[in-house]
């Protein structure tokens, strides 16, 4: 058989074209979903429905909450291999009476955990807030009459509480805890709970903050343990205990 060379060359050329062309250098479609937090304010297992209500803690100790608010920042989402995906740079000012908090867009994916800071970054803590910033321009979250030079309050929990040993008094003593300063910023890692952030969908983390946890290990009968309102007081044994207790405040609903 005589080989017709023209078809052979054409055929070889087609195969050659087929396997030297078209490597994939494109990025596939990326996508994001939205994340929100739904947070309830609690004191000793009871929801703080309104400031001024008298509630009972676990040992029937009476408490009245007048202020319960804090800053949550630096949200990170933990993937199944323990790597972190940085969340939006949202400063979340959480306070009693407001339950819905939009965090913003997050890379779509499966996450087994959520990590965040209670407090502000060093830079933000040293900044002067813009009057149009609804999160930072909060005078109740400043140590002074302005945010600087003393910085921001990270956790502000105030009210009145029965300080008796047997928790059987109706006479409540005022307390005020203003936790701040860079050293007292706390990182919280929530317990494992799988979440899937779907493109173009809203995923909601349902949480509660039980401020009564701040009293763990605090001797309430000591009047000196009921007030911590200045940056200087944030460097004390009481501050150390309160900061340690911050980690116990958060749980899933």
């Amino acid at each position: 058989m005589r080989i017709p060379y023209l078809p052979a060359v054409l055929l070889a050329s087609m195969f050659l074209i087929g396997f030297t062309a078209c490597d994939d250098d494109d990025d596939p479609a990326t996508s994001k979903g939205s994340v929100a937090l739904h947070i309830h304010t609690f004191a000793g297992g009871n929801e703080v429905e309104a400031y001024g209500d008298t509630l009972l803690l676990g040992d029937d100790r009476k408490i009245v909450v007048n202020t319960a608010q804090l800053y949550l920042t630096n949200f990170r989402f933990i993937k199944l291999d323990d790597s972190e995906v940085q969340g939006p740079a949202t400063v979340l000012f959480m306070k009693q009476g407001v339950e819905e908090y939009e965090l913003g867009e997050v890379e779509a994916g499966n996450y087994k955990g959520l990590r965040f800071d209670v407090g502000l970054s060093d830079a933000t803590n040293a900044s002067t807030p813009d009057p149009n910033d609804p999160a930072l321009f909060q005078s109740t979250m400043w140590f002074g009459s302005t945010a600087q030079p003393d910085g921001f309050v990270f956790v502000n929990f105030q009210g009145a509480i029965d300080t008796t040993l047997n928790a059987n008094s109706n006479s409540l003593a005022p307390f005020a805890y203003k936790i701040g300063t860079n050293d007292n910023r706390v990182t919280i890692t929530m317990p494992q709970e799988n979440h899937t952030v779907v493109p173009d969908q809203l995923d909601v983390y349902h949480m509660k903050v039980d401020y009564a946890g701040l009293f763990n290990g605090i001797v309430l009968s000591n009047p000196n343990n009921l007030q911590m309102t200045t940056p200087a007081q944030n460097n004390s044994v009481l501050a150390e205990q309160l900061v340690t207790n911050i980690a116990t405040l958060f749980s899933y609903e």
């Binding site: 087609m14 195969f15 396997f19 494109d26 596939p28 479609a29 994916g109 499966n110 799988n194 969908q201």
Partner: protein, 333 residues
């Protein structure tokens, strides 16, 4: 040993296995019609050449594929324009189903499908079916003698299958589009060159073949499948006038998808990620052909073939076939 000679009316490639589309050219005026069915079931997820866990998939994608079943019905007609040139046309109907799973306890099943929620809240099902691309070939008998032939085929795949099927009531998110593999067509005009050598001597036939698909253009969505190459080597032996058996070795290699459809979010599952396409696979098949010599269906054959993968390497993460089987009914005139 008794030799069975090819009966009149049969083409030279009459012993070709069910999964082999092109084996020969027809004589002038000859006609051949066939119905082919290809069935593939995929289950395990692999990365490269080894299985991977669902946890590894969930780290990069929302859903871990559980299984996929694809059936393809193909109707084909072939006609000999001359003793050297035949033309062939094929239309296909595809049916695909796949299931995927979210991580346990995940809060992600957003489409409100209460039926599947009551069974498994994290299980997600997709299915599509419809006509795929239409394929045309010109087959040129390059060389031929008493016992062998070489045919060169030049094909065109015409994009008649849809590439914009949405997941409708099972959507993960509003307007979610089916992943690439679940769409019915490629969306592109593709070239399909091939060359086939066939040797036949009495009861024994063997063949080697190279087929390629060259995809030079993007479709309207902005992507095209990778070029591919299929190498076939098969041998068949005719035991009786009505029965032959075949073995076949198939090698397949393909590049990943180039480009992407912006309506398909890669994060949803590996099948939605253009990088998770292509790779290499070597499969072996065993088949049987049954020949009908009399009556309405004289000069016809019924062929079945069952295949198992011997070696697989996939790009990024893909499900791999557990088995493939082919069936065909061919009538020659």
């Amino acid at each position: 040993m008794m030799l069975f000679i090819m009966p009149p009316g049969y083409a030279q490639g009459y012993m070709s296995p069910a999964g082999v589309m092109i084996s020969h050219a027809h004589a002038k005026g000859g006609w051949m019609f066939s119905y082919n069915y290809m069935d593939m079931y995929m289950e395990d997820n692999w990365s490269g050449n080894h299985p991977i866990s669902e946890e590894q998939i969930w780290n990069d994608y929302l859903y871990a594929p559980q299984s996929m079943h694809m059936g393809m019905h193909m109707l084909m007609g072939m006609h000999g324009l001359s003793d050297r040139i035949s033309i062939m046309m094929m239309t296909e109907y595809k049916s695909s189903q796949m299931t995927m799973l979210l991580p346990p306890g995940s809060s992600g099943h957003h489409h409100g499908d209460t039926t599947s929620l009551s069974v498994n809240p994290n299980l997600h099902k997709h299915s599509t079916n419809g006509f795929g691309d239409t394929k045309l070939w010109a087959i040129y008998k390059w060389m031929a003698n008493e016992n062998s032939s070489v045919v060169v085929s030049a094909g065109l795949s015409i994009p008649t299958g849809r590439i914009n099927l949405e997941t409708t009531e099972h959507a993960v998110y509003e307007g979610e589009q089916q992943p690439y593999m679940m769409q019915l067509g490629s969306g592109t005009l593709d070239f399909m060159p091939g060359v086939t050598y066939l040797s036949y001597a009495g009861s024994f036939t063997w063949s080697v073949q190279a087929l390629s698909t060259i995809r030079a253009f993007d479709n309207v969505a902005g992507y095209h499948y990778g070029n591919d190459l299929t190498m076939n080597a098969w041998a068949a032996y005719q035991f009786t006038s009505f029965l032959s058996a075949s073995i076949r070795l198939e090698g397949y290699t393909s590049a990943p998808i180039s480009g992407f459809d912006p309506q398909i979010y890669a994060v949803v599952q590996p099948g939605a990620d253009p990088d998770c396409y292509g790779g290499e696979r070597v499969s072996t098949y065993g088949g049987m052909n049954f020949y009908i010599h009399d009556g309405w269906f004289q000069n016809s054959k019924l062929a079945v073939e069952f295949g198992l993968p011997l070696y697989q390497r996939v790009n990024v993460i893909q499900q791999v076939p557990l088995f493939i089987w082919n069936a065909s009914f061919t009538a020659s005139f």
